[in-house]
């Protein structure tokens, strides 16, 4: 048998190796629990997160996404185990639930859920109810539309009563839309189907009209319309701060957006002279609406982790935090804040107009993402 010598060099090498591994090795008792969320960046309030971390001895890790389909893709590739909480809007939570990516929830464990506006109460807001089991699948958070924010000094208010406003050659070079392809196509689809009069005809899915379920003829019309619009756009903005600057500087006079920038423009305390910015929630051809939600992934089992998730959601939808989120993100909230808001805030955040959400077409999954992607690529390449 060969005798092995332990040299000084071996000891040093082993010591260095162990030292290098130390940051990755921690005893079980020192491990901090982590709450991992896949969410919209606009809803992060650092001080709220820090307080939650301190109170519960947990670490909150947020990952951000730009669109529902991106979040869905992340969840599909194992994200249900990598995230505890996820945000989605429109009909996307239903898709998540059907695919087993999220679990059912119990409003009884989230006391703040008692403060929802009437439209968002558990029994009334069916978008977050699983039709098969009747169980709730998520918590409403913020709501809004994809309407037109415009500078009334340049664009006549009556002009924005129709989606045609966003295709008006008179405003060439002064228009902007978001870079989200689903909403651009769906909004153009409202105009195209209105012009074609095809909404009342039998739909491809046999259900009532939905701008996310289109025929090939309608998609072709949408493509032509969006190609025409491209020549009129200054840019497709990537984020709200960019649109804020474009509108405030006057470079853009009308843009489709979630009313968040509109509110930020009106409440900005930057010393710039206030301009007459207005927002049209619903156009005559119809409008798109969204309700952001908090969902718990299927990777979270009953027990301490679920309790932590419930605590976090409860904190986020508490009146005090929701009011701040509304101010920071510029969105309307699903929690009834009328008792703690001024008259101006009630108007600005549409607190008395939440019933209008039922008149809007909810954000949804495109009937064929592949076809929609081809349409969008052709528009971008034209």
């Amino acid at each position: 048998m060969q005798e092995k010598k332990i040299s000084r060099r071996t000891v040093l090498a082993a010591g260095a190796g162990a030292a290098l591994c130390m940051p990755f090795i921690r005893p079980a008792w020192a491990q901090t629990q982590t709450v991992r969320a896949l969410m919209w960046e606009a809803y992060v309030l650092p001080d709220v997160v820090s307080k939650f971390e301190e109170e519960n001895n947990v670490k909150f890790v947020a990952t951000f996404f730009d669109g529902n389909s991106e979040a869905y893709n992340k969840l599909r590739v194992g994200g249900a185990k990598e995230f505890d909480l996820v945000q989605a809007d429109g009909f996307w939570p239903q898709l998540y639930f059907r695919d087993g990516l999220i679990r059912s929830v119990d409003y009884a464990h989230v006391p703040s859920a008692a403060n929802y506006l009437p439209e968002f109460h558990a029994e009334k807001f069916k978008v977050l109810t699983d039709p098969a089991s009747g169980s709730k699948i998520g918590y409403p958070f913020c709501w809004g539309a994809y309407g037109i924010t415009y500078n009334a000094a340049v664009v006549a208010p009556e002009k924005t009563g129709t989606i045609e406003c966003m295709f008006d050659p008179a405003l060439s070079g002064q228009l902007s839309t978001s870079a989200r392809f689903e909403e651009n196509i769906a909004l153009a689809a409202l105009l195209v189907t209105h012009r074609l009069g095809s909404r009342e005809k039998p739909r491809p899915d046999g259900k009532p009209f939905n701008p996310y379920v289109l025929t090939d003829e309608e998609l072709d019309g949408v493509k032509k319309l969006l190609i025409e619009q491209k020549a009129l756009l200054l840019t497709r903005y990537q984020d709200n701060p960019t649109l804020f600057q474009l509108l405030q500087s006057g470079a853009v006079v009308a843009a489709t957006e979630f009313a968040q920038v509109f509110r930020q423009l009106l409440t900005a305390k930057d010393g710039n002279p206030k301009q007459d910015f207005r927002h049209t929630l619903k156009m005559k051809e119809g409008g798109l609406g969204w309700v952001d939600t908090w969902l718990v992934t299927s990777g979270v089992e009953d027990g301490p982790r679920l309790d932590l998730c419930n605590k976090f959601i409860d904190r986020m939808i508490s009146s005090e935090i929701m009011k701040r989120i509304g101010e920071v993100a510029g969105c309307s909230t699903t929690i009834d804040l009328r008792a703690i808001s001024t008259e101006e805030e009630r108007k600005l955040y549409l607190m008395d107009r939440s019933s209008e959400i039922s008149d809007l077409f909810m954000f949804d999954q495109p009937s064929s993402p592949e076809k929609w992607e081809r349409v969008w690529s052709n528009v971008q390449a034209a």
């Binding site: 689903e182 200054l234 990537q238 500087s249 999954q365 992607e373 690529s377 971008q380 390449a381």
Partner: protein
Amino acid sequence: MSEAENRLNRRLFLHIPTVFLVIFFVLPLIALVVLSFWQTENYKIVREWTAMNYVTLATEPAYFIFFIRSLFMAIFVSVFSVVVSWPIAFFIVRYGGRYKLILSLLLAVPFLSGEVLRLIALQGMLGPTGLVNGVLLKLGAAPLRFIMYSNSATFIALVYLYLPMVVTTVYLSLLNFDFRLASAASACGANRFRIFSEIVWPLNLSGTIVGFLLCFIPTLSAALAPRFLGGPNGVLYGMSIAQQFGESGTWALGAAMGVVLFLFSMLVLGVFSLGIDLRRTGFTGMGRQ
């Protein structure tokens, strides 16, 4: 050193990097190729072998247009960067004196911040409310529309991003160049243009080609610059690939686009490598010939 120690050293210095490359470079590439022969339907991967994604790329003009846009952008950016880099690098090498190293390191300063940060800063510079147009407006002049959300803006951004790489490469090449050759040619009566075109340029061509490629390849796949600055008509091939893997969820098509880009880049590298003599680039330590 014993035979056993020799074996261990070989493993450490050869096997570990090889394993690293196989896991993090070769395997993802294989996965990309496999994915490109599958399909995606409603955000789900259908594991059935098909060449449909390549058929789509060949028949849908949109992707070809993105590719051609990217190709032209990469050529323009790389050629412009080389043209601008030469005088900068030449100046540093010839007149930098003892500050040569500091001047060359200064080129790396922009790399100390992230790419997104640099692009956002540039967006602020070139946008309608940015520094350039802001000053013009204050002076009562019309804003420069061509630098706002356009291919020109993307061009400026890409030059800004990759110019330091080209300058550094040309600088390193010139650093190893024996300027006594130029002096000898001058003594024999050659004018400046002839010295440059027949001695300095040819003997530094390899380094210049390396610099060109270091700019060309990433520019060909650029996604962030066109996204932030390109505007409605500025979508490039790399941005479209990012879109397939992001919001549209058509991963298989994106993988096929990636494979096409990879093969094209390899082809370009292959063609250009014919003109590269590594012994003349100054990177090998093999000395000049």
